[in-house]
């Protein structure tokens, strides 16, 4: 480094130190919330959506002047690091967030990142907020992990029950071939058989790499099923449903939760083709007041764009963490914060809890009771999972 450069560097360093000190003096206290997730690469959109939910909540809280814990006012400083969906990078980011930024809570939107953080979170004393519906992240018994969305296994029984009642007992599997779809099939097929049904064909298709689904769909329809189990991203799933109808399929669809019926109806022009189907709907169709308030607020901030599930769940999750900090009376002790989440869920404002989550199980899984949708006479009928199973 030449002398001139060194001087400039010093000046810059001084300036930034002063700037840092100045911001520190303005806000009373800040608490750092960490995030590690895919912000570039193939899963970037997904990662951005999850982060957007956190940012929206953090901004709301800070705009109201922060939150009070034990007489002190805190603002949220959200630090997001890109891990490109890689578990090892998530671990590195996790270390940085804890050591450099002193974050008591780290959010991550993938199971790989969660497992990587779980290797040292209990030792380093931070809470992992995991946005993944893979059940094993909480079943391993990590004391400082919270799984934000419900596990997908919760959909198996109600979906099977409705599909059998509406259409019949013969199912053909024609969902996608990625990992998540395979997990689903592994859980769905035994449930279907345990409830007295049969699987007449099993022909998953690569939804992203097929130019056309006629061949794959006609193959499963040759076995004359009553129900077709489909699902991948919403749009190709809609095409599969449409092509099945064109090929003369009269039964109903069981639609894997990755695909949202609302998105599908935009592709195939309404719900007529989905008659007798069961699946999940986006938050915008929920009738609960909390969901409606949240959607209205999001619409206002984003020119009428609909919020994704990722935005809504992560928004809610940050609010529940902040509420738990208030209940626990600490912003540092991860154990106390984790212990207070159950109480926090009961005291959350409905507009900050669009899915109406009220409980967390002992292992750290949030217990949402999501709506599932059935299409009857071209209309979507919503029911809570508990209602379907309680009948």
């Amino acid at each position: 480094m030449s002398n001139g450069k060194f001087k400039r560097f010093c000046r810059l360093a001084c300036a930034s130190a002063i700037a840092l000190a100045a911001t520190g003096a303005q806000a009373a206290e800040t608490v750092t919330i960490g995030f590690t997730g895919p912000l570039s690469g193939g899963a970037a959109l997904y990662g951005q959506n999850t982060l957007e939910g956190l940012q929206m909540a953090a901004k709301e809280i800070n705009d109201k002047g922060g939150f009070q814990v034990d007489g002190e006012t805190y603002e949220i400083n959200l630090v997001s690091l890109d891990d490109k969906y890689s578990p090892s990078q998530a671990a590195v980011n996790g270390k940085r967030l804890v050591q450099q930024y002193d974050a008591p809570v780290i959010f991550t939107p993938h199971s790989g990142g969660t497992f990587a953080l779980q290797a040292f979170n209990e030792r380093s004393g931070f809470l992992v907020m995991s946005y993944t519906s893979v059940p094993t992240v909480t079943e391993k018994g990590n004391d400082l992990t919270v799984r934000i969305p419900p596990t997908f296994t919760g959909y198996m029984k109600p979906f099977t029950k409705i599909a059998m009642a509406e259409n019949g007992k013969k199912v053909a599997v024609a969902n996608a071939t990625h990992d998540y779809a395979k997990y689903w099939t592994k859980a769905f097929v035994p449930t279907w058989e345990a409830m007295g049904g049969t699987v007449v064909a099993n022909n998953p298709m690569d939804y992203n790499k097929s130019a056309d689904f006629y061949t794959g769909v006609s193959k499963v329809l040759a076995e004359d099923p009553d129900v077709l189990f489909i699902g991948g991203a919403s749009e190709p799933t809609a095409l599969v449903a449409k092509q099945a109808r064109e090929l003369g399929f009269k039964g109903g669809f069981v639609i894997m939760d990755q695909a949202k019926m609302g998105e599908m109806s935009k592709i195939i022009g309404g719900y007529d083709m989905l008659e007798g189907s069961v699946g999940v709907v986006p938050l915008t169709l929920y009738e609960e007041q909390g969901a409606k308030d949240f959607v209205a607020k999001y619409h206002k901030l984003n020119d009428g764009k609909d919020p994704t599930t990722e935005v809504a769940y992560n928004y809610f999750a940050l609010y529940s963490v902040v509420q738990a900090m208030k209940e626990a009376g600490t912003v540092e002790d991860a154990k106390a914060i984790r212990a207070a989440i159950g109480e926090a869920l009961k005291n959350l404002a409905p507009e900050n809890n669009p899915y109406g989550v009220t409980e967390i199980d002992a292992k750290g899984g949030m217990m949402a009771d999501p709506n599932i949708a059935t299409v009857k006479d071209g209309k979507v009928v919503l029911q809570r999972i508990s209602e379907v199973l309680g009948e």
């Binding site: 022909n203 998953p204 130019a211 061949t215 794959g216 592709i267």
Partner: protein
């Protein structure tokens, strides 16, 4: 039996679109002597142009197809003028890099403007015909008829007209073509225009039974590469026959063996054919 015929129909639909896209690729190969990786992006732009003219301007399907063909032909000519022509004395690797650059540029441009979401192109032909137990949506009939008549027109153009012959001459022997006074610039621009036009028409035919999104070209361009290698680089009948072979392999392999393995079947076929005829099925084309 009707299930068998259904697969024949599926194979024809896929094969005719694959063939149409591969044709454009093989024509440009005759001029550039490198594969044009940007061809899939041109196909994608074609779909977006038709989509926009139809949905945002409310124009009729056929006019939208013509508009798309025109715009993409112009875009292809621009690529030739601005990128490939200045590189004509450079080593072939530069052309390849430039082609990949164009592909990334076009995709990023479309994604910036229209976003990454899936769109659905409307079509006036939504009837579904049922003949002898077969399901035949009108759009699929249109794809097959449209693609094959376009191939026939192209064939006549190349064989029966003087302008068409200049393209064939260029592809067969560059120096020879110069010696008899063929204007290389004109032929190159014309070839790019035709290949772009074919891609756009193919996209407008196929998009209504599929989805429109920025990465839609990847899938097709990969198949098209397999097809022109299979059929012989630069060979026109090779592209058509190769397209049908891959289309039928996917339809029958997917139905009678497994949908999971249909790509494996297509590629295994490629390996078998290349081990018997290492230069592809029709080697009369270039080199």
């Amino acid at each position: 039996m009707d299930l068998f015929l259904q697969q024949v129909l599926n194979g024809l639909t896929l094969g005719s679109i694959y063939g149409l896209v591969a044709l454009g690729l093989t024509l440009v190969y005759g001029i550039l002597h490198v594969p044009n990786f940007a061809h899939g992006a041109l196909y994608m732009v074609g779909a977006y142009v038709s989509y926009v003219t139809m949905v945002d301007f409310g124009v009729n399907y056929w006019l939208a197809m013509i508009a798309a063909a025109g715009v993409v032909a112009l875009l292809a000519v621009l690529c030739e003028r601005l990128v490939f022509n200045p590189l004509r004395h450079a080593p072939p690797i530069h052309d390849k890099i430039a082609a990949i650059g164009i592909m990334l540029f076009l995709e990023a441009l479309v994604q910036m403007h229209w976003g990454a979401e899936f769109r659905r192109m409307p079509t006036p032909y939504t009837e579904i015909l049922n003949v002898a137990g077969m399901t035949i949506p009108a759009q699929r009939v249109l794809i097959i008829i449209g693609a094959f008549s376009l191939m026939a027109v192209l064939h006549l153009f190349l064989k029966k007209t003087m302008t068409g012959s200049t393209i064939v001459a260029m592809a067969q022997n560059r120096e020879g073509a110069f010696l008899v006074g063929i204007d290389a610039n004109r032929v190159a621009m014309m070839t790019f225009a035709i290949s772009g036009g074919l891609a756009a028409v193919g996209a407008t035919l196929f998009a209504p039974i599929n989805l429109v999104y920025p990465a839609m070209g990847h899938l097709l361009i990969m198949k098209a590469f397999v097809i022109i290698i299979l059929g012989g680089m630069g060979s026109i009948p090779g592209a058509i026959v190769g397209g049908l072979i891959i289309g039928f392999a996917e339809a029958f392999g997917g139905f009678y063996i497994s949908t999971d393995y249909k790509d494996i079947i297509a590629f295994a076929l490629l390996v078998v054919i290349l081990s018997i005829k290492p230069t592809g099925l029709f080697t009369k084309g270039v080199r």
